[in-house]
């Protein structure tokens, strides 16, 4: 006799959640949730390792822990680790050293400098095949939501929880609510995954997903590549949702096949059979459902100081009497009632866990090929990982970027977070493919417009905010 639960249609999220409950939640205590993959980086882990030492604890499953350095790492070439002491601030260099020492002490394999596998943590997890459908994945980083593109339940945690997972491979969690977001229709050329997620955040708001796990669905989602799906899921947190998920399908399996940490042979066949059962059952219930028609969507740009303050590139910046809204426009030096088109730009940044993958660099190169970066613009292109860099160089994309006058850098978080030497100078305006346009995010006083790689590349070429559709051949 099957349990009643088994007879009710379940969502993708519920299936992954149910399969990882070690101890169910009660009124008094949250659920104990098992974690399949723990990603660790240099900025949010040192205090957690200190806690382990102070309490005499070991890392319970170093084999389920994957470490790399990305946030405070320089994006200029280095020949040896000693160079980090030269190019980085002492505190950043110490953090990098400390991660190395902690990984060594606790038996964790580190994808560090000269491993050939270093990169932005949310770029290397999928690249290595560590990110898999149905897994629970956490990291001391809010953009862990990226991995939900594979049908994993992936979310960011604080450093205390990093310590919990290191020590017990588990987390205490209350079950979140579910939100289905269906994107209807297929957008036209020049409108990318970045534009879709900016539209979503603009529609539901920066707190619209708070307390919820989002499942993205619909025609416009199924049509995306894995890299594009990662761009969408990456910014779930910018709508307040800790996690965003997309049902795995043949696009997912094709991407994963043959990756170093993906299952092989018979294990692959068994995994496929499990993964094919993950998509939400017909009739699965969600706590909320939202439907957005994206068939006429234009490229999106942000105009304010959070990712929900976003407009179609040819539309005027809206007006509002709200004090935070006015404060944001003052900070951005943007005028309500006028479009951003034609606004002079100082810096263009193409990279990050949102848009630092091969497809993103190809998109940018498509615009840059045979053109020159405007004199007033500094263009940085930062591949998301060592592997992305190698693949891009094998296609000659680095040459296109250099020939246009752009900088081709070493992998890292770079200008997305402004804590590694790459910053936007005070008052300067950047068009950035990253995920946050918060005040000072890219450096004190820096002003940020979030956009897709092609919109960013168009701004680099034109020297002003420009509609990329005019440059697509």
């Amino acid at each position: 006799m099957p349990l009643e639960r088994d007879m009710q249609p379940r969502s993708l999220f519920e299936k992954v959640w149910d399969a990882h409950v070690v101890r169910p939640e009660t009124d008094d205590t949250p659920a104990v949730l098992y974690i399949d993959l723990h990603l660790v980086h240099e900025v949010t882990s040192p205090q957690a390792f200190d806690m382990l030492r102070a309490r005499g604890l070991r890392v319970r499953r170093p084999d389920l822990t994957l470490a790399t350095m990305d946030h405070s790492t320089p994006t200029v070439p280095i020949k040896s680790l000693k160079d980090i002491e030269v190019v980085s601030e002492p505190a950043a260099a110490k953090q990098i050293r400390q991660l190395e020492a902690n990984c060594k002490e606790f038996g964790i394999e580190l994808r560090g400098f000269f491993s050939g596998q270093r990169g932005v943590v949310h770029v290397i997890g999928p690249e290595l095949g560590a990110t898999q459908p149905g897994k629970t994945i956490v990291c001391g980083d809010s953009h862990t939501s990226t991995h939900g593109a594979f049908g994993a339940l992936a979310f960011g945690i604080g450093t205390t929880e990093v310590g919990h997972v290191l020590a017990t491979q588990c987390l205490l969690q209350r079950k979140p609510k579910t939100l289905a977001i269906e994107l209807a229709g297929r957008p036209g050329p020049g409108v990318t995954a970045k534009d879709l997620i900016l539209r979503i955040i603009g529609t539901i708001g920066v707190a619209g997903g708070t307390g919820h796990v989002i499942e993205y669905r619909g025609e416009a989602i199924s049509a995306l590549s894995m890299e594009q799906r990662m761009t969408v899921c990456n910014m779930s947190i910018e709508a307040g949702a800790r996690a965003g998920m997309i049902a795995p399908d043949d696009v997912t399996y094709e991407y994963m096949a043959g990756r170093p940490l993906a299952p092989k042979g018979k294990d692959w066949d068994a995994a496929l059979e499990r993964w094919r059962k993950l998509p939400s059952d017909p009739g699965a219930r969600f706590d909320r459902e939202v439907r957005i028609d994206v068939s006429r969507l234009a490229p999106m740009v942000t105009f304010g100081t959070n990712p929900g303050m976003v407009v179609e590139i040819d539309q005027p910046v809206p007006e509002s009497g709200d004090i935070a809204f006015k404060k944001a426009l003052d900070y951005m030096r943007v005028e309500a009632g006028k479009p951003l088109l034609g606004t002079p730009v100082d810096v263009v940044f193409i990279g990050s866990c949102t848009n630092g993958r091969l497809g993103d660099i190809r998109d940018a190169a498509r615009i840059l090929k045979g053109r020159k970066v405007a004199d007033n613009v500094r263009l940085l292109v930062v591949p998301g990982s060592d592997q992305t860099k190698r693949e891009a160089e094998a296609e000659g994309l680095d040459e296109i970027i250099r020939a246009a006058g752009g900088e081709w850098r070493e992998p890292g978080c770079s200008m997305c977070i402004g804590m590694n030497g790459d910053i936007v100078p005070p008052g300067k305006l950047a068009v950035s493919t990253s995920n946050r346009n918060f005040e000072g995010r890219q450096g004190p006083g820096a002003r940020t417009i979030l956009a897709s790689p092609i919109t960013a590349a168009a701004a680099a070429v034109k020297g002003v905010v420009a509609d990329p559709r005019e440059l697509l051949g």
Binding site: A19, V22, R23, D28, T29, P30, V32, Y34, D36, V43, T44, P46, Q47, D50, M51, R55, R60, H71, S72, E89, A91, Q95, Q98, G140, D141, S142, T144, G156, I157, G158, T159, T160, E161, H164, A167, T168, Q169, C170, L172, R174, V206, A207, T210, I237, G240, R242, D267, N306, I323, A324, I417, G418, M419, R436, F438, E439, G440, R441, P444, G445
Partner: protein, 192 residues
């Protein structure tokens, strides 16, 4: 951790919605490997002028804000990154509670693990608090209420296990470590 039962203080008000973690503690201060001393960088970009001197008009810098342990902030406080440096900085500065009408999920979780009580109140109470900076307010974990100087008392929601830990000065890892048998059993059944 010190057990927390009641927090009584005048308030400091930051009336803006969507105050993100990059405002609470900018990324350039995250290269630390400890939790100490982050309070001096709390709200750094708003608190200090470019030359490093305190901006006199910023709420925390006004003389009447001195000694306040309760911060009242606009809706969706703590949105953005997972950096626990945000509650570390608030606690190091001296705050024991933040009152808003909504908190970002990760910030709330992090706050609860660091002796900082996130207090979610209804819109009307929130508006009153935003308009009455410096009001003497009592946050009581036993009764899960906020009491305003008008005598008005409102309930606030708080996750029960976190409340238990806060009131008893316990960290949550102890409970997880006690689950060892269940975790080992789960691994036997599930992990290849």
């Amino acid at each position: 951790m010190e057990p927390i039962r009641t927090i009584r203080s005048k308030t400091v008000v930051l009336p803006f919605d969507d105050i993100d973690t990059d405002q609470i503690i900018p990324a350039r201060f995250l290269t630390t490997t400890t939790k100490d001393g982050l309070g001096q960088h709390l709200f750094s970009n708003w608190r200090y002028a470019d030359d490093g001197t305190p901006r006199p008009d910023f709420a925390l810098n006004r003389p009447e804000a001195k000694g306040a342990t309760i911060l009242v902030a606009g809706r969706n406080f703590g949105c953005g990154s997972s950096r626990e440096h945000a509650p570390w900085a608030l606690v190091d500065y001296g705050f024991r509670a933040v009152i808003s009408s909504e908190f970002a999920d990760i910030f709330r979780n992090n706050a609860l693990k660091n002796g900082l009580v996130p207090v979610t109140v209804d819109d009307e109470t929130h508006r009153w608090l935003l308009e009455h900076e410096g009001a003497e307010v009592t946050v009581d974990l036993e009764s899960t209420t906020v009491e305003l100087p008008t005598g008005r008392r409102v309930q606030f929601p708080i996750e029960r296990f976190s409340r238990y830990c806060l009131m008893n000065g316990l960290d949550q890892l102890g409970f997880l470590l006690e689950q060892e048998d269940a975790i080992a059993e789960y691994e036997r059944r599930h992990v290849a």
